[in-house]
Amino acid sequence: MEADPSVFVMGQGVDDPWAMFGTTSGLSGRFGPDRVFDTPLSEAALAGVATGAAICGLKPVYMHNRPDFLLLAMDQIANHAAKWTQMYGGRAGKVPLVVWACTGRGWGAAAQHSQALHGLFLHVPGLKVVLPSSPGDAKGLMLAALADPGPVMVFDHRDNFRLTGPVPEGPYFTPIGRGIIRRAGRHVTLAAVSSAVVMALGAAETLKEKGIEAEVVDLRSAKPLDAALVAESVRRTGRLVVMDTGYPAGGLAAELVARVAEAAFGAFLAPPLRIGIPDLSVPASPTLEAAYFPSKGGVVRAIMGLFG
């Protein structure tokens, strides 16, 4: 915001003491109410407002406490922001819009406060979808999203808010659409996003004790998707496990498995495996939550299953 006066931040409560779980802390005091402002609970219109402002040369960041609320804004995101550039043949301008939402889980947040909806947006031409897994990428991907000429959806995960890690000073950009190998290994490829990367790295440690060296690929972007990097890894390891924070059906994991199979089918020594959340609404009670979300033990057992 210091570097670019056209950037502004809007969203329900971005200037309140909660400050989007601390994400926007101090922004309103520093940049004032014209550039950091609270919004009515009008997601449909306000997503349009952000789109319209972007068309007119500003760079809005429209923030949502939960991705569940994005469904109210789906018309503006999928029918308008995503389409605007292409449906006018590029003559109506670009839409440099960032939509941010915080995926949560746990503590009984239940069916409408814990959804992982990034898979829905993969299906819409014209959008980019990024999911940081580290403090450094949270900054680098946000700055890349702001620099992007088109609409970018950023899904942060609340579990990641507890992470610590290096965050370089000054501006830098994590490239959208390029994954990174977080840990090298030769027996199985664990391709993951967001907080699932943390779980994949933990699982890789446990697998090492069992003599299995897992390669962990952090996709960083779900769209564009760096399937080439994963296919290259699978050519070395022969096994693919996609670990997603979302639903496997028709989502990121389904897409990645399909793309890698298209590119490197002959490399598979075992069937690919998708690990995500079940095709059920998120339950509230702690025992049900524990059964719902993947556990490290369960993930390790599932991966071990690929080795007969």
Binding site: G52, A53, W84, Y88
Partner: protein, 320 residues
């Protein structure tokens, strides 16, 4: 010639142009040379002409699928419009948009959306950008009674009032959403304005077939917007002479009373203003000159559209 007569003649020219373009499209359409659904503004010309006459070239207009009228009235390039309808690369959207997604940013026509309430929020955002940048531009957004069924209207107006945005919401109430009458969709006339607090939102309902009245109201709304007094809401009561889409004689039967149609045809906004101008002493030569100029311009635009090449398949990725 008085200032009022000159202004009225300008309105008449804008309306005549929209009407004659619609007629030319209707005549050509059965030839299948325009492979896109067309939603004509026949009968509603006074709304586009009146509102756009109150705006400066740098002001912005957003519209719906029924966007030919606002596009032309705002000064959109007729050649580019016709080429777009023909699906040609010289079209306003390079052949990507079709008739529902005309755009001419140079003229301040920002685009038509086929989602009827879709541009309400976007136009509100354009007005927010104007306020944040202090560029002094006013935005007008055209939408129909169908969009007034949608919640995004109330959300957008609330935000515009909250932030005192320089925007004019122009409701073209033409009585129908495809074939569904307003009475089947809304509990009372102007139900969206019931209980509106006049201290917050300047809202008026007027005869949308009276271009002079539309212009006068729009001028007041533009003045309010430029003075930082916030949004205005104009309901322009009009009627869709053409059907929902395509030439008038392709309109389906059985959803409206033909007597009603005849009654509204008698209230034609173009003829009505012409009669007034004749009374004000405008010579018949003026009208015939205008007719000739319009016909020549339209003929040239159709030629341009026919001669423009179709997009190449390699153009598919040009706007990604």
């Amino acid at each position: 010639m008085s200032l009022n007569t000159r202004k009225s003649l300008g309105l008449f020219r804008a309306m005549l142009r929209i009407r004659r373009v619609s007629e030319a499209i209707e005549a050509e359409y059965p030839e299948n040379s325009m492979p896109t659904p067309v939603h004509l503004s026949t009968g509603q010309e006074a709304v586009s002409a009146g509102v756009c006459a109150a705006l400066s070239p740098s002001d912005m207009v957003f519209a719906t699928h029924r966007c030919h009228g606002p596009y032309l009235a705002k000064g959109g390039d007729l050649n580019a419009m016709m080429a777009e309808l023909f699906g040609k690369s010289g079209g306003s959207s390079g052949g990507f948009g079709g008739s529902m997604h005309l755009v001419d940013r140079g003229a301040g026509f920002m685009g038509g959306s086929a989602i009827v309430g879709g541009n309400l929020g976007i136009a509100t955002g354009a007005a927010l950008a104007s306020r944040m940048k202090g560029d002094g531009r006013v935005t007008a957004v055209f939408f129909g009674d169908g969009a007034a069924d949608q919640g995004v209207l109330y959300e957008s107006v609330n935000f515009a009032v909250l932030k005192k945005l320089p925007i004019i919401y122009v409701l073209e109430n033409n009585g129908f959403s495809v074939c569904s009458k307003v009475s089947a969709r809304q509990a009372a006339p102007s139900v969206f304005l019931k209980g509106v607090d006049k201290r917050l939102l300047k809202a008026s309902s007027i005869d949308g077939n009276d271009a002079v009245a539309v212009l006068a109201l729009a001028e007041r709304a533009v003045k309010r917007a430029r003075a930082g007094q916030g949004p205005s809401f104009m309901e322009c009561v009009t009627y869709r002479i053409a059907g929902h889409a395509g030439p008038a004689d392709w309109d389906v039967e059985g959803y409206r009373d033909q007597k009603e149609l005849v009654r509204w045809k008698r209230r034609c906004p173009v003829q009505r203003l012409k009669r007034r101008l004749v009374k004000q002493g405008v010579d018949s030569d003026v009208f015939s000159r205008m007719e000739n100029e319009t016909a020549a311009e339209i003929g040239a635009a159709f030629d341009f559209a026919r001669k423009s090449p179709l997009p190449d398949s390699s153009d598919l990725f040009q706007a990604t």
